[in-house]
Structure formats: structure tokens, C-alpha cells
């Protein structure tokens, strides 16, 4: 398949903005990268590979993403922390008629007070991306399939 250079760069930019909003904020703008009717799952790889539906975060609309962000910021008691998403290996699986199926690898480094940085999660994104009427790309489905099934304590922020 010939590489669509423009599309590849657009995707790289989309994933960069995704990482930037999660790591540097503002987190409340992160749901804007998703379609109003969307699916966002954080799912351990053993469930995904075995066809078991349980996800540790399941949002079935942009509204649920907004709710998740608000709960994270206002109701969950958690130690302050920084995250740093490394998103690599962005690959177009198929592209047609305004829909792109793409995958990417991620590793998320978490920094807690008084502790050295550690890898919170590693895995891959299995995504479906659509083009909005204004030309911008948005996620309509995002599955964060994480290999590191034993979660170090708890995942607070989205992967």
C-alpha cells in the first residue's frame, strides 16, 4: 500500500494532541478529540484476546468521557501525579471514505511524588477515526489494549 503522506502526518498530529491534552492539559478538552457517539475502552490484553468484554474504563459517548474527566478531577481521591504518553508506530490499517482504521503503540510513564518514574502501562491503540465535516479527524472508536495486565496500584487518568 502506498503511503498517504498527508494522512500519516495528520494522524501523527492527532496522536500528539491526544498525548498533549492528557499529559499537559487541559484535560477537559480531551473529549473533544472524540465523536459525540464514540466508544472508548481501556481493556486488559487477556480480556481482549479471549473475547471477554470487560474493560476497566468504558465510555460509550463523548458525554461519558466528560463525566470521567470530571470524576477524575473532582471526586476520585488520588495522589498528585504526572503522566507522559509515548505514542509510536502509528500505522494506517485501512483508509476509505472518511474512515481510517489505525493502530499505534503506547507506553505511559507515571511520576508520583517522592518516587522515581515508572511505566504505568504499555500496549496498543486499536482505533477507528473519522473525518468531521470541517475536515478535522476525530476518534469514533478507541480501544486501549494494555499488555501490562497487572496494574501498578490504580489507573486514574485515561490511557
Amino acid at each position: 500500500m502506498a503511503i498517504d503522506v498527508a494522512l500519516q502526518l495528520e494522524l501523527e498530529d492527532l496522536y500528539s494532541r491526544y498525548a498533549s491534552l492528557l499529559d499537559d492539559g487541559p484535560l477537559r478538552e480531551w473529549p473533544d478529540l472524540f465523536a459525540e457517539q464514540c466508544l472508548y475502552l481501556v481493556i486488559p490484553r487477556d480480556n481482549y484476546d479471549r473475547g471477554l468484554p470487560l474493560a476497566i474504563i468504558r465510555c460509550e459517548s463523548r458525554g461519558m468521557l466528560v463525566d470521567r474527566v470530571r470524576a477524575t478531577q473532582e471526586t476520585i481521591m488520588h495522589e498528585p501525579r504526572y503522566l507522559r504518553h509515548q505514542i509510536t508506530n502509528v500505522r494506517v490499517v485501512s483508509a476509505a471514505a472518511g474512515r481510517v482504521d489505525a493502530t499505534a503503540h503506547f507506553s505511559v510513564i507515571e511520576v508520583l511524588p517522592d518516587e522515581l518514574p515508572r511505566i504505568l502501562s504499555v500496549g496498543r491503540y486499536v482505533d477507528v477515526i473519522h473525518r468531521r465535516s470541517d475536515g478535522a479527524l476525530e476518534f469514533s472508536e478507541k480501544r486501549c489494549v494494555y499488555d501490562s495486565v497487572l496494574v501498578p496500584n490504580t489507573i486514574v487518568y485515561p490511557l
Binding site: L52, P53, L54, R58, G63, M64, T75, M77, V151, I155
Partner: protein, 409 residues
């Protein structure tokens, strides 16, 4: 009885918890021996995880790796995952189906009952070597545990004289166990796992402690899922080792019970209400029943999210928490979706359980530095009786009363 670390329990008794028990390696080893390899039924899995002959799963009781199998006759078996020859972990996969478990080192092979079936070169090679004449494979099986099942749930014990599960649980805890496991076939929804940097007992304390639930869990309180003014009760078995927190969902408005919650979010309105659309599905009026079963299980029924939380201690300062989410095979698609959505509250990224993981870490960080100090359990009085409310630490006092008896403290 040998008292590791010469622990002296504070004279106030079960209203105090000496911090040393959260971090002392000798006490931890004693717990593994007396509590996890002792007289009790430990949860090891659900029957739907190993439905066919030859199916197996690997899990832990305390810090001992065990294999749970279904043999060729359909019987559930359980044995220690450690080769009788040199101590190598025999089974390296978490789940699978096999006729024989073959040790990778010298290929000793065991069947689904843990019996030793094959030893390479047992008669030697070209008349050279081989095992001594008196070597009998029957002497080298994998240590077997006794197993029992109740309505699809599998328990195992190292104590072959352990009483029946029903008498172990007691009448009230058996009743509530059967409330969730009522004989209907279960459906497996999936797993979630965490490595929590705290002592394993802190997880039990957390689920036996309704006092914190209406204060720490802002999300639960904000949406009325668990509040101090709700109709509720704490019930235990006669020994105090098992407990039930039973509660009924209440109103969403502010009240005396929410006044003390510093950061209640009364203005928090969900954009997508499907996250919380619980429906009644059990015959009684309880909307939450959290059952703690000594020594390693929490049965969670919070609204429509059902899960087993299995506690697997690793060392004094750390345990794994394994969640197995399930529903019933007769659930319709809407109910399955509902269970999956509500799992957002309770998992290794839970909107509610995340508070607990964080608090357990902070507790461990506090207590490990001060082994000679003790925590205080006085909410609701000094007794270990059942209560018709949740403003109490009675189930923690009962737990430690039993713990002291088992450990000889």
C-alpha cells in the same frame, strides 16, 4: 504457640491494631502458614473458567501457586504448582487445557489430579543410571488440596479435615452467598488486576469498614449509591471472620449524613446517565451487599456490577487484587451492557475503588514507619456485634478478634 516478632497486642484488645502486623516479614510468613494454608476454604475460581475436562487455571492461595483443574471425570481438583523433583513451577500458563502437566526442567509429568505419571529415564539408558529400585511414583505426586463447589464457585483448602463450606460460612453468610450464587449459570465478563502496595489485611479492612465508604467515596455519595443515612446493616458469622455490609440506595439530596463530607459535589450531573441506571435484580431490597469471606475473597454486588475480588498476598507490603466480573447466562444484552458500564466504578481504574487503592497505599506508607504504634477502632463502640447501621467499625473489631485467635496473639 510460637509468636513471631514477640508481638504484644495492646491491652485495649480488638479496639487497637498494632502496626507491626502490616510490615513484619515473620508475621507475614506465619499468616501464610496459619491463615492461608490452614483451616479454611480459600476461593480459587469459578466453574465457568474451567468448564471442560482437561481445563485448568493457575491461581494463588496466600503466596502459594496452585493449579485448579477439571479432570477427565469432570471433577474439580487442586494441587500445588511445584514439581516434586526440584521445585520448579510446573504450569506456566494461566489458563489452558491439557492432559498432562510437564515440568520443563526434567519433564516429569503429572495428570489433572496431580499424580506423577511419567519420569524420563526412570529405568536408565542402556542399563546405565535410572531411579533406585524402590522409587515409587505414588510417593511423588503434587501436594493436593481438598476442593468444594457451591453454585459455580470453587474453594480449596490445605486442611483435609476442614468442615463443610456451609458450616464454615455460617447460616447468614451462606444465605447471602446464595443470594448472588443462586444456582443460575454464570457468564464470565472478564478480569482486572492490580498490584496494590499495601498489606493484604488492609483490603479486608477496607471492605469491612462502612465508616469510610460514606466519606471517602465522593462519587458513591454524590450519586446516592452508599450513604451513612441509608437503611443498612453489618452482619457477621459467629466467629467474626466473615462479614456482610448490606445497604439500600437512598436519596440524592444533601442531609445530615452528607454535611461532614468536605467535597461532596451536589452540582455534579452526569452528561450520560447510562453510567448509572441500576435496576433491581435480587429478591430483597438491598442494593449493595459486600461480603468478605476469610481468608481471601470479597463478593461484590454494588447495584448491577458483580465481581469476585481475590486477595493474593505477595509480601508484607504488597498484594495482588484479582477481579473476576460476571453476570448470569440468562442476562439480556441490556443487562450485560449495564454490568459492563457499572464496572467503571469498580476495577483497577475504578471511579470508586480507585479511592481505596490510593488510601491503602497511603496507609501502608504511614504504618510501616511506626511498627510500635497502633490504630484505633472505636467507631460504634467496643463490641463485635451486628449493627442495624453503618456508622461502625464492628466488623473490623470482629476480624481482628478472630485474627488474634488464629495467630496466637
Amino acid at each position: 504457640m510460637n509468636n513471631p516478632s514477640n508481638l504484644v497486642w495492646p491491652e485495649e484488645g480488638h479496639t487497637r491494631v498494632p502496626y507491626r502486623i502490616y510490615s513484619d516479614p515473620a508475621i507475614f510468613e506465619r499468616e501464610m502458614e496459619l491463615i492461608f494454608r490452614g483451616a479454611g476454604w480459600a476461593y480459587v475460581g469459578l466453574e465457568i473458567e474451567i468448564p471442560k475436562p482437561g481445563d485448568f487455571k493457575v491461581t494463588h492461595i496466600g503466596n502459594t501457586s496452585v493449579v485448579v483443574t477439571r479432570d477427565e471425570h469432570g471433577e474439580i481438583r487442586c494441587f500445588v504448582n511445584r514439581c516434586a523433583h526440584r521445585g520448579v513451577k510446573v504450569c506456566r500458563h494461566e489458563f489452558g487445557n491439557t492432559r498432562f502437566f510437564v515440568c520443563p526442567y526434567h519433564q516429569w509429568s503429572y495428570d489433572a489430579t496431580g499424580a506423577l505419571r511419567g519420569v524420563p529415564f526412570i529405568k536408565g539408558v542402556n542399563q546405565l543410571g535410572g531411579m533406585p529400585e524402590d522409587f515409587d511414583r505414588a510417593d511423588y505426586g503434587l501436594p493436593r488440596l481438598v476442593t468444594c463447589t457451591r453454585n459455580g464457585v470453587i474453594f480449596a483448602s490445605f486442611d483435609h479435615g476442614v468442615p463443610s463450606l456451609e458450616s464454615y460460612l455460617g447460616e447468614v453468610n451462606t444465605h447471602y452467598f446464595d443470594r448472588v450464587f443462586d444456582g443460575r449459570a454464570l457468564s464470565l465478563l472478564g478480569y482486572s488486576r492490580q498490584l496494590i502496595p499495601g498489606n493484604w489485611k488492609l483490603m479486608f479492612e477496607n471492605i469491612k469498614d462502612p465508616y469510610h465508604a460514606s466519606l471517602l467515596h465522593v462519587f458513591l455519595v454524590t450519586f446516592g449509591l452508599f450513604r451513612a443515612d441509608q437503611k443498612s446493616q453489618v452482619r457477621m458469622d459467629p466467629s467474626g471472620r466473615h462479614a456482610l455490609l448490606i445497604s439500600q440506595r437512598g436519596e440524592l439530596k444533601a442531609s445530615a449524613a452528607t454535611r461532614d463530607i468536605a467535597n461532596l459535589r451536589e452540582d455534579f450531573v452526569l452528561q450520560d446517565k447510562r453510567l448509572l441506571d441500576p435496576v433491581k435484580e435480587f429478591p430483597d431490597d438491598a442494593t449493595v451487599v459486600m461480603q468478605t469471606i476469610w481468608p481471601n475473597l470479597i463478593v461484590q454486588q454494588q447495584s448491577n456490577t458483580l465481581a469476585m475480588r481475590q486477595i493474593q498476598p505477595r509480601d508484607p507490603g504488597c498484594f495482588e487484587l484479582h477481579w473476576t466480573f460476571f453476570g448470569y447466562s440468562d442476562d439480556d444484552e441490556a443487562m450485560t451492557k449495564r454490568r459492563l458500564r457499572q464496572a467503571n466504578l469498580m476495577s483497577s481504574a475504578g471511579l470508586v475503588s480507585g479511592d481505596d487503592s490510593e488510601v491503602i497505599k497511603l496507609t501502608q506508607d504511614g504504618v510501616r514507619r511506626h511498627p510500635d504504634d497502633a490504630g484505633v477502632l472505636l467507631m460504634g463502640g467496643r463490641d463485635t456485634n451486628d449493627t442495624p447501621h453503618m456508622v461502625t467499625e464492628t466488623a473490623l473489631r470482629a476480624f481482628y478478634s478472630h485474627y488474634r485467635a488464629v495467630m496466637g496473639f
